[in-house]
């Protein structure tokens, strides 16, 4: 197995906050306050959902099923995802 090139996405699970802009990923686990977890699931961010990162500011901008969400960086740190490649633009 060769080391991934620097621009290549990691294949192991990682926090959503570390995903690159334009990457597509599947939510594996949500670890945050129960109230936030409940809200996230109602918004379509549940274990198994596909999310893509569309921008990074002081918050993370993500797309979930066509819905744009702004998620605080601390919150996005508690969401573990499995990278699925990049979104075709």
């Amino acid at each position: 197995m060769t080391l991934p090139a620097s621009r290549e996405l990691p294949v192991c699970n990682c926090p959503l906050v570390d995903s690159e802009t334009g990457s597509l990923a599947t939510v594996v686990a949500i670890e945050c306050g129960e109230r936030e977890a409940c809200r996230l699931r109602a918004l379509g961010v549940y274990e198994g959902a596909q999310v893509s990162v569309i921008g990074k500011r002081h918050c993370l901008l993500v797309d979930v099923g066509g819905t744009r969400l702004a998620l605080g960086a601390d919150l996005a740190g508690g969401i573990t995802v499995r990278p699925q490649g990049r979104v075709a633009s």
Binding site: E36, A37, R41, A42, L43, I54, C59, L61, A70, G72
Partner: protein, 713 residues
């Protein structure tokens, strides 16, 4: 209790009750407005200040339909007081006992998956359901088509495609609602594992014993697995925490995470439904909304655009409204004169002209500004920009311990603190909410505007500073900034002391940009204007009459040797109002005010606008035009002969008005919204106290510093 929780059949004599629920940004309120038009009543849900908008319409056969617009909710698991209310109404546990016969769920066709989560919960409540598949036009533009007959088959409820902003599909929807009333309630369309059902059974039995229908109990037992906070409507369910923890333990024993069970079950079913009923053309992420967001959320461009938008709103509110205000002012003055001319000289004429027309008229003038401000806030909200503004402000807000969402109530506070405080209901965290409630009244509301306008126009020269801005404009801007900056600082203090705690992480939907629906917007603005007019017709009218009476009685026999103005002065000084003013003069003396300002301040503790009308009443020049009052104030002298009002005193007075909480309505809203009862009064007391201390202290400081700098007082 149990009788309210079972589905009640609708009888022909009473109106058919329909509750509308849907995710935020689905066009729910626009659809409500399209259904009911102007036949609406705005009130509050019992006990809380969540706005309750009820309306109605008639079918061609004369049947009456009553419609209740429930707050926008992402799910039935209450994160905010808003969603709690929606759930209580749907379960028939709302204190007003308004249980709907039919639930209308508004589903955004572009975001079917997320919207069906709430819809599937509502379908298990044991009530007939109709779905309005809204904004099908916007979905079609995005290449999304929904096979409606197939979706009806999957969900098992009537579904009507609509475009609420254009009124399309509204008539078929009305027919579907009537038909649905006689249809059986839908049932859960997905099966849970036998093991999961067994784990939930004891909890479900307990809920049924408490009066929930078996369907609603099944929905609740599944939903509660992911809910950590206590919900008021379940507070009397015996042993709920024990049964809930029992169910969670049983699920953990199966190797499951209890909090995930509902989302996985519902979305598992929903993704199948969506795959079978929805087709979408190859989708690129780069929609027009994204292209707009590239600017609106740009690191540099975003804040610049934000400032430009805010400046535009204020410029518009303050300059576009002027011609309308002039028109109202002139009309009221001429009506007042005409009516006064019909009455014989004496107390009655004085009451009508100086009391009623002068008092209420000076406040009605602000109707255009209020309408403009609410129209702009409505446009910002409906267009989707408000969420971007909250996103941009989140960084700043977080620094003072608030959430980005606190920005919206604070912005509304520029119009009026009452809707501002009500807008805090979308903030989930109670401490965030309270801190926001505490500072919203520091935002300079439209009621302060008459005070600022009068004082600036009278005492601040229109010295040009730079193109488009003179000293008068800059003074006005400074007052708004002073309030805003102080609000942020005070919020930081509250979050570090009484309301200490972590700031909740940001979760914010950025809805697609959309053209505002003009008709719906107009209805909302009209509602606001009605509330304002009602206030002008009640609180302000009665205060005006009381003040007039206090300034008129007891009568003094005028000293005929004095000039008419001095005779009037003598009358005022000896009236009940004058005596009271002299009694309180020592309190306002350190601020450089005389007893007349003192009286006006005291009178305006009920509502700030009353300051101007009181000055008008005291000087007997209200109802004519502002210029008369301005001239009178400039000419006013003290006993020593020095001018009673100087620019320094005017600035001090404005600063006092920036800070002081002088509004009965705000106090009432704070009491209810901060928890009601004793707790609510305590918070309202804290709010009133700190603002009064701030007002007095700052006004005093202005005068002391000003004097030291050589300005005259």
């Amino acid at each position: 209790m149990s009788s309210t929780a079972v589905s009640e059949r609708h009888t022909a004599t009473e109106p058919l009750r329909v509750a509308i629920i849907g995710n935020p940004n689905t066009g729910k309120t626009t659809l409500f407005n399209a259904l009911t038009g102007l036949r609406q009543r705005v009130g509050n849900f019992a006990g809380v200040t969540v706005e309750r908008v009820e309306g109605g319409y008639k079918m061609p056969d004369g049947r009456r339909i009553a419609v209740l617009d429930l707050p926008g909710s992402y799910s039935l698991s209450a994160g905010s007081p808003d969603e709690q209310i929606a759930l209580e109404v749907l379960l028939g546990r709302d204190q007003a006992h308004w249980r709907p016969h039919v639930v209308l769920v508004v589903v955004d066709a572009s975001h079917l998956e997320r919207n069906l989560f709430l819809a599937s919960q509502v379908c298990e409540l044991g009530l007939p359901v109709v779905i309005a598949l809204n904004q099908v036009d916007a979905a079609a533009e995005k290449g999304i088509t929904v096979d409606v007959p197939a979706l009806i088959h999957e969900i098992g409820v009537p579904i009507v495609p609509t475009v609420a902003s254009r009124g399309e599909g509204v008539e078929p929807l009305k027919r579907a609602i009537v038909t649905a009333a006689s249809l059986p309630a839908p049932e859960r369309r997905f099966a849970l594992d036998h093991d999961i059902l067994a784990a939930l059974a004891p909890l479900q039995v307990q809920l049924e014993a408490d009066g929930f229908s078996s369907s609603a109990a099944a929905m609740e037992s599944l939903r509660l697995l992911g809910v950590s906070s206590k919900e008021a409507h379940l507070s009397h369910v015996a042993d709920l925490p024990r049964h809930l923890e029992g169910a969670r333990d049983a699920l953990r024993a199966l190797g499951l995470t209890p909090q995930r069970v509902e989302a996985e079950a519902r979305y598992g079913w929903i993704s199948g439904v969506v795959a079978r009923t929805m087709t979408r053309r190859e989708r690129s992420l780069d929609t027009y909304s994204d292209r707009l967001d590239a600017v609106a959320l740009h690191r540099l461009g975003g804040p610049i655009l934000f400032v430009v938008v805010m400046a535009l709103v204020f410029q518009a509110v303050f300059s576009w409204a002027t011609p309308l205000q002039d028109l109202i002012e002139v009309s009221i003055a001429s009506i007042g004169r005409a009516v006064g001319g019909l009455l014989p000289e004496g107390d009655l004429r004085s009451l009508v002209v100086d009391g009623v027309f002068a008092g209420v008229g000076s406040v009605l003038v602000f109707l255009p500004q209020i309408a403009f401000l609410f129209a702009f806030i409505g446009v910002l909200e409906q267009s989707g920009y408000m969420a971007r503004a909250a996103f941009l402000m989140d960084r700043l807000m977080r620094r003072v311990g608030l959430h980005g969402k606190s920005f919206i109530p604070m912005l509304s506070g520029y119009a009026c603190a009452v809707p501002g405080i009500m807008a805090t209901r979308t903030i989930e965290d109670p401490k965030d909410r309270l801190a926001t409630i505490m500072v919203v009244p520091l935002m300079s509301c439209s009621a302060r505007l008459p005070v600022y306008t009068l004082l600036i126009a009278t005492f601040v020269p229109a010295l040009p500073l730079m193109p488009g801005l003179d000293l008068q404009g800059a003074t006005m801007l400074a007052m708004y900034l002073l309030g805003t900056v102080t609000a942020l600082a005070v919020a930081a203090v509250f979050r570090a002391t009484l309301l200490r705690g972590p700031v909740r992480p940001m979760i914010l939907e950025l809805p697609p940009y959309r053209m505002p629906a003009i008709r719906s917007l107009a209805i909302s603005v009209w509602q606001r204007c009605q509330l304002f007019l009602r206030r002008a017709g009640t609180v302000i009218l009665s205060l005006s009459i009381i003040l007039w009476a206090l300034a008129t009685y007891p009568h003094t026999t005028p000293d005929a040797s004095l000039a008419p103005a001095q005779q009037q002065e003598q009358q005022l000084a000896n009236s009940a109002l004058g005596r009271f003013g002299h009694a309180i003069e020592p309190v306002v003396r350190p601020l450089g005010y005389d007893w007349k300002i003192g009286v006006s301040i005291v009178a305006s503790f009920a509502a700030r606008e009353v300051f101007v009308s009181t000055m008008g009443t005291i000087y007997g020049v209200g109802g004519e035009d502002d210029a008369a009052l301005r001239d009178r104030l400039r000419a006013e002298t003290r006993e020593s002969g020095a001018p009673a009002y100087t620019p320094l005193i005017a600035v001090g007075l404005m600063v006092f008005y920036v800070y002081a909480l002088m509004c009965m309505s705000t106090i009432a809203v704070t009491v209810r919204e901060a928890g009601g009862g004793r707790l609510g009064w305590q918070w309202a007391g804290v709010q009133f106290g700190y603002m009064l201390a701030l007002a007095y202290g700052a006004a005093w400081l202005v005068v002391v510093v000003g004097r030291a700098m050589g300005f005259a007082t």
